[in-house]
């Protein structure tokens, strides 16, 4: 008897859902085993993670990750592995800070048209900065032939340090009492809408209201997301550029044969991807972050890396990006809620891990990504047992 690996003649029915579901389940189980080894109750871990899928706090991360997921989708469709969303995100924050906290900083109210103009200028400049930083990686890949993965990763570190230098230098706030951070974003430049909803006493109703509150709070992000979704769909469904990006991913030699400039296409693809990341960074700054703190590499949300997970989990399907973003956002929430539980705190303390919850998030993402990366082959291949 031997096990043989064969290429499927027909695509696996419900292959995408099956692969995502299976890799998620296996990844969570693998993480639960890690947690169990250090003394956590596996049932508690599973319950906390699964209940996080219906938790209002996921909305913020869901929106950011969906936007970034679309950004990376553009590059990944062209088989251009843009691992540099983290750097593009942080570089894009710099013009935003410059415009809002240096050029047009105010401690007073300003007319609405000024607010709108400053916010728009900030978003446009962030989008351009993201595009240029992405384009730089694309140019190095296209014209120097250096693999984009190490290049984008190295550019992430360069972006962190450039940001740090500016935070300690010209960007350091005037009203921060010597702390290594920028000033707070003035109220007129914020796009979040704060709504207070009193508790009704009914857990279900409270949960629904909490979702509504979060959706209102990040309404500007939802608008931004709609713009990005429509643009990405239009790009891939209605433009020759989108078609060329897809062909670049599957058969770049064909494009060369047809006479297209593959190098230019590579740069443009990276620029589009970086532009969406920059756009997202500006929305994030105006809607949630409000200031930068030193050192960027420790205090930022690591969204750029999480977005890779989102895009891979989506199997590069446009409609599945929000699904995988919701899954990842829920897992983030799950890991945060998990380490906040008294039983878990106690177990972590006993095992000597209290204060390093990050490790659990990394283990969880690593486990899920790994199982997904391995299980994905089942979409195209099948395992057959042959009796001899």
């Amino acid at each position: 008897m031997r096990i043989v690996l064969l290429r499927r003649k027909k695509p696996l029915k419900y292959g995408s859902a099956l692969t995502i579901g299976l890799s998620l389940a296996l990844g969570v189980v693998l993480f639960t085993v890690f947690a169990w080894i250090i003394g956590l109750n596996p049932l508690l871990v599973l319950y906390t993670i699964s209940s996080s899928f219906v938790f209002p706090g996921t909305v913020k991360d869901f929106l950011v990750l969906t936007l970034l997921g679309y950004a990376l989708l553009v590059a990944f469709k062209g088989s251009l592995w843009n691992i540099g969303a983290e750097g593009q995100f942080h570089i894009a924050l710099l013009p935003t800070v410059y415009v809002t906290l240096i050029c047009f900083f105010t401690l007073e109210q300003v007319p609405a048209y000024v607010s709108v103009a400053v916010i728009l200028l900030s978003i446009v400049l962030a989008t351009i900065a993201g595009a240029l930083w992405g384009g730089l990686a694309g140019a190095i890949k296209a014209y120097a032939g250096v693999d984009e993965v190490p290049v984008t990763l190295i550019l992430n570190y360069i972006a962190y340090y450039i940001g740090n230098i500016l935070i300690l230098g010209p960007f350091q706030g005037k009203y921060v009492y010597g702390y290594k951070r920028t000033d707070m974003l003035p109220d007129p430049y914020r796009v979040s809408i704060i709504v207070r909803v009193p508790s009704t006493g009914n857990p279900l109703l409270d949960s629904v209201f909490a979702y509504v509150r979060e959706l209102i709070m990040y309404f500007a992000w939802i608008l931004g997301l709609l713009v990005v979704v429509l643009l990405v769909r239009w790009l891939f469904n209605n433009t020759t550029l989108g078609l060329r990006i897809k062909v670049l991913g599957s058969n770049p030699d064909y494009l060369v044969t047809l006479g297209y400039d593959v190098k230019k296409l590579t740069v443009v693809t990276f620029m589009i991807s970086g532009a969406i990341v920059g756009f997202t960074a500006a929305l994030y700054f105006h809607g949630y972050l409000y200031r930068l703190e030193y050192p960027l590499e420790y205090v930022s949300g690591q969204y750029g890396y999480l977005a890779i997970l989102v895009t891979w989990l989506s199997l590069l399907e446009i409609r599945l990006i929000p699904v995988s973003a919701y899954i990842v956002a829920s897992l983030i929430m799950g890991s945060q809620r998990l380490v906040a539980l008294p039983e878990v705190k106690k177990a972590l303390e006993a095992a000597g891990f209290y204060g390093v919850e990050t490790s659990f998030r990394l283990l969880m993402f690593g486990s899920i990504l790994l199982t997904y990366s391995i299980m994905r082959f089942l979409q195209e291949y099948e395992l057959k047992v042959i009796r001899e």
Partner: protein, 299 residues
């Protein structure tokens, strides 16, 4: 600068050199077998955690280095196995292992740090740097001889160039890649242990944000994965990273400018390498990162 001062400076950067050299050397062997290693930074950090567990738990830095090498070798074997048997993306598996490695590194190292605080008394002595550097160089020469002069070395290179042709000529691709994986990652683990037990002599959770594994990746790329050409490049990068404080003080620049220098240097070096004749001289293995799959494949 006087010759004595220059010599002192070179001796001062030897721990950094030994670290980068061993990590880049291990990475080079692994990639010569045709498997793209994007797990390097995670494995680097996981191995630093294992190193302090071994050094503190068994009371000797040598055990720390051995444990780091073993843990890294297990990850290397796993990576070689799945990437040779299954038609899956080298990049995806590597990056997944990177995240897993970061998590594992914290799991290994943090409890030790909480238990003993500083690890100076468990680290290698300052004087050991000469012996360790010599050992590292000797390993480099041996690896060079292994890769260039032995049957196993030819098999490793053949698997990197064209695994299908290698298999047709009688090379056992899986066995060869498993050996390259175990050996390469063991050296990465060994180099990582030198980072905590010889160079910085402290285990810190923030190490995983430093990106030193990626710098070693750039070192290997710029030296064309050649064990001997790695020596000057690793010395250069060891110097750039280790002399950050000196650069900062001499040039009166912020610490982050000094931190920036090695990464900009890595980028410039990769560009210089790719845009000159060096690219052809040190061409990467033809099948690097390509899934190895035959139409029907027994597992």
């Amino acid at each position: 600068m006087t010759p004595e001062a220059f010599l002192d400076m070179v001796i001062g950067i030897l721990p950094a050199f030994a670290t980068f050299y061993m990590v880049a050397l291990g990475h080079s062997i692994f990639e010569k077998a045709g498997i793209l290693n994007l797990a390097i930074d995670g494995v680097f950090f996981a191995a630093t955690g294992a190193a302090v567990v071994g050094a503190v738990g068994l009371g000797n830095p040598v055990y720390g280095s051995i444990l780091a090498a073993v843990v890294a070798a297990i990850l290397g074997l796993f990576m070689s196995f799945v990437l040779t048997y299954l038609p899956i993306s080298h990049g995806a598996v590597g990056l997944s292992l990177q995240f897993l490695g970061y998590g594992l590194g914290i799991v290994f190292g943090y409890s030790v740090r909480l238990a003993v605080g500083a690890i100076y008394s468990y680290a290698y002595s300052r004087d050991a740097v000469y012996e360790i550097t010599l050992v590292a160089l000797a390993i480099g020469v041996l690896v060079h001889l292994l890769v260039e002069k032995t049957k196993l070395g030819s098999a490793i290179r053949a698997c990197g160039e064209n695994p299908h042709a290698a298999a047709a000529l009688g090379v056992n691709v899986i066995a060869t890649r498993l050996i390259a994986g175990a050996l390469g990652f063991a050296l990465i683990g060994l180099g990582s242990s030198l980072f905590v037990l010889l160079w910085v002599r402290i285990w810190d959770i923030k190490t995983y944000t430093l990106g030193y594994g990626w710098l070693a990746f750039a070192v290997a790329l710029a030296a064309g994965r050649h064990p001997l050409f790695l020596i000057p490049i690793a010395l250069l990068f060891g110097g750039l990273v280790d002399l950050q404080t000196t650069i900062q003080a001499r040039l009166k620049v912020p610490a982050d400018v000094a931190k920036l220098v090695p990464f900009v240097g890595a980028l410039v070096l990769m560009l210089a390498y790719s845009m000159t004749r060096l690219r052809r001289v040190f061409a990467q293995p033809t099948s690097l990162g390509k899934p190895y799959y035959k139409e029907e494949k027994s597992i």
